[in-house]
Symmetry: C2
Subunit: 342 residues, 2 copies
């Protein structure tokens, strides 16, 4: 018997942060299960998107959660030491634990023993499936049009844009499927592979499996969640393996309005949008050249809609491409731009 899923999101120390708290935000906005509380002792008593923030696991229990989900993505994907105690408290309180970090909870002897004795499950969303290998060429045979979101940095909305475009396409009656490639996407869609956790040689092979499965799930139009950035000094390898393994027909280029440096890597500039457009088109596989169909601009840092519109118009003028903020103003315009290029 599967018990009802009522989520407690663990956001300790990061629930306020759109970058490190992106998993939390994705699950709240797009996940199928109710989020009953958020744990972050620094914000206890506040509300976040109408969800109560609590300071401890015992405070969370009156909201009757059944699953504790790690809602932060740390650099390098390891648990800060204080988090072990938090995880142990969750297990002791009878909650299943779901984590998307690189450090697998289900491989930790202490946590697994505790979970066994409390009869709860530990699930690692980033654990790659067995039997991965290199691409076979099946990616190029997929009977669907493939759209990949790419970006100028991590954590700027590549997953959100893919999810929004897929939602809009399905509202229009198109046979569209969102293809998850990371921990949050997997938490939202209930399937997928976290390509950044795969052995590097099998990156493109994992991406191939994902587009093949997307088509098998009925997608004639696949919106593939992008990862990292071609210009990110830490994660660019993942980005390129995903580009070449998912063999998109078109890209949607995501950018945070006003950003000029890679977040968390000071001194690493983001090239101008026009150069990023050209770089993506140049690096796409010679066998299937992809073009950038449009720009998705994240204007969350701009307070007024007027400023957001001005930033969008400026990006459109710089690149000659349709641009919009699909979260702020809806994704219809960008979907039109994508469909026009397919």
């Amino acid at each position: 018997m599967t018990r009802e899923r009522r989520l407690l999101i663990l956001g300790e120390g990061f629930s306020h942060d759109a970058h490190y708290g992106k998993t939390m935000r994705g699950i709240i906005r797009y996940g199928p299960d109710p989020v009953v509380a958020i744990l972050d002792s620094a914000r206890a008593g506040e509300m976040h998107d109408s969800i109560p923030v609590v300071g401890s696991v015992s405070d969370a229990l009156r909201f009757e959660p059944t699953v504790a989900v790690v809602g932060v993505a740390t650099q390098g994907g390891r648990f800060p030491p204080a988090w072990r105690e938090l995880l142990k408290s969750c297990i002791a309180a009878g909650l299943d634990v779901e984590s998307g970090l690189h450090e697998f909870v289900s491989e930790d002897p202490e946590l697994t023993e505790l979970a066994r004795s409390h009869g709860v499950e530990l699930r690692d969303l980033r654990r790659p499936p067995a039997g991965l290998s290199v691409p076979t060429g099946a990616n190029l045979e997929v009977d669907a049009r493939i759209v990949l979101t790419v970006g100028s940095d991590c954590a700027i909305g590549k997953k959100t844009v893919a999810v929004e475009l897929d939602l809009e396409a399905r509202r229009r009656g198109l046979e569209s499927v969102f293809v998850p490639t990371g921990q949050t996407g997997i938490a939202i869609a209930g399937w997928g592979i976290a390509v950044d956790a795969v052995v590097a040689d099998f990156l493109a092979g994992a991406a191939e499996q994902l587009v093949v499965e997307g088509a098998e799930r009925g997608g004639k139009l696949l919106f593939v969640e992008g990862q990292g950035s071609l210009v990110h000094p830490l994660y660019s390898g993942v980005t390129l393996g995903l580009v070449h393994g998912s063999v998109p027909h078109v890209f949607v280029l995501c950018h945070r309005a006003g950003a000029t440096e890679i977040e968390g890597s000071p001194g690493h500039p983001i090239p101008p949008l026009r150069e990023l457009v050209e770089l993506h088109e140049r690096i796409s596989l010679p066998r299937r050249k992809a073009t950038v169909a449009c720009l998705a601009l994240n204007t969350a840092d701009l307070e007024s809609d007027d400023d957001a519109h001005a930033a969008i118009e400026s990006a459109a003028a710089e690149t000659g491409l349709p641009a919009d903020d699909p979260v702020r103003f809806g994704s219809g315009y960008l979907l039109d731009a994508v469909l026009a290029r397919l």
Copy 2:
């Protein structure tokens, strides 16, 4: 007590093949240990580079090997089924086994049990070290000039070119170190990390560790072994992670004369050399832009030196860069070109 290393190279079915047998060739040419025999039943009785080829493990024993080295690199890095019997025969004959495939011999219950009972060691050259993570920025602080070999395809000589340039630099009295990033390089140099076997998110971090260690080993000039190709549909992610993690000052671009398609991936064209030069310069980190210093052309397929010279001249004319085949004609000219750009 360490016993003397006398190598039996396992080349079954592939010892004739320069592509899948590249590990064998690298170890024979540059390895520190004597290769006493090569096992390949299809060529039993022949000689290969003055080394006897035998048809079975028992036939190999009169050459008194102590270590059996897997000398082939299969696509996907897994053992063909027939190889299991071969490995078991080696172990039963008292040989240590070294493998650079993705499928780890030291994790195979049957092989480890057999090895234990025969008192031999199983070593996996591709097993990543524990504790890898993302880059810290230490790569950009390394007090050395960094040269990375890159290429238009796999198995065309990136490792060989790096080894040859390092040898030539040391002959000239320069403080040069070869930095191994793959199984054969590790077998040759006795240290290194196989970056293609690392969790994808930690690719650039592994490359950072390698250039840091290269400098700690005394290198003021580091020749980093390249992997894959930016235009390879299977392995490009590894290539880009290595480019951004090893932060080279210059590239040496390797190409097999006359090749127009990715080997093993028909229908995937190799772009013209001029485009490859520009693509590498464009994709290098904005924080440390790298230029291509010269071209290393692999002319092994051309019989006459005249044809080789003509191919080299044509590549030089197309790109405006110094070009040579460092294996056929020596690496002095290319080293001059590299040093001129550093």
